[in-house]
Symmetry: C2
Subunit: 126 residues, 2 copies
DNA sequence: CATAGTGGTTTCCTTTTGTATACCGGTATC
DNA sequence: GATACCGGTATACAAAAGGAAACCACTATG
């Protein structure tokens, strides 16, 4: 009797289950962009201006060149950071948040807001 | 000559580097709460009402009982979902988003918003 | 008695993620 | 000539996350 009828408790009436999960794809995209052990710290570092490779590494204790290289590549692929090579000798390379990368700020702000109250709630024990 | 002076390009003038990274802790907390391959889908599922264990599992293809169990425990620990055992025979267990869990909605909304435009931008190729 | 459904746990395995360490070509410094 | 800085890469390994399958006690159905 519940053959083809849509269960409203499962999904909003105008959406199929697959449409629901499709809705989650953009959320996962946003999450992916910020995921990784060092990405937030790197983004924060670039928030305060252009930085060179070793400079970032020095600022973030424990960050190995391999990870820094990898995370910077991901930021570049997502067009959040840009890489500029200057043919000085030896070459110098500068990384910078793109204007697009700066659009992350309000989002990170929201994460910070929710995370702060959550942190208080959990640490408080109740 | 730049001995003890604070570099404004590294961190805002009123914050030390360690204070900066401390600022990131709440952001990481928020990210952690939503991380994990299945958590978003489970939260979405619970958004539409109380659900039983097997019911959630049936709704989300590929989700094994081990993972579901683990993710639900994490949601419980974070007070985002609650678990109710009814001593029917055999026992039935219902999971539900707490009112606190529902405070995630606007945050997920923001992630969705940013993620959508990002998805378009990256898929478009530029 | 066999089968299926309830809410899970256990064990073993693979994949992903991150760490540690050494190394590269080039230049500048001691 | 040895050392150190630059921007990384390569190799090997450890830890964490996730998947597959079997299993548990219990009940209800055929």
């Amino acid at each position: 009797m519940k053959e083809e009828t849509h269960d409203k408790r499962k999904c909003p009436s105008h959406l199929s289950t697959t449409e629901c999960t499709k809705m989650l794809l953009p959320v996962k995209d946003a999450l992916d962009v910020l995921s990784g052990k060092w990405k937030l710290q790197i983004i924060l570092s670039l928030t305060f201006g252009k930085k060179r490779f070793k400079q970032i590494q020095r600022e973030i204790p424990g960050l190995t060149p391999k990870m820094l290289s990898k995370e910077l590549k991901e930021l570049e692929i997502n067009q959040l950071a840009s890489r500029h090579v200057y043919d000085t000798l030896p070459v110098s390379v500068e990384y910078e948040l793109t204007t697009y990368g700066k659009t992350l700020k309000p989002l990170i702000g929201e994460l910070h807001k929710w995370g702060s109250t959550h942190r208080k709630r959990i640490i408080a024990g109740k």
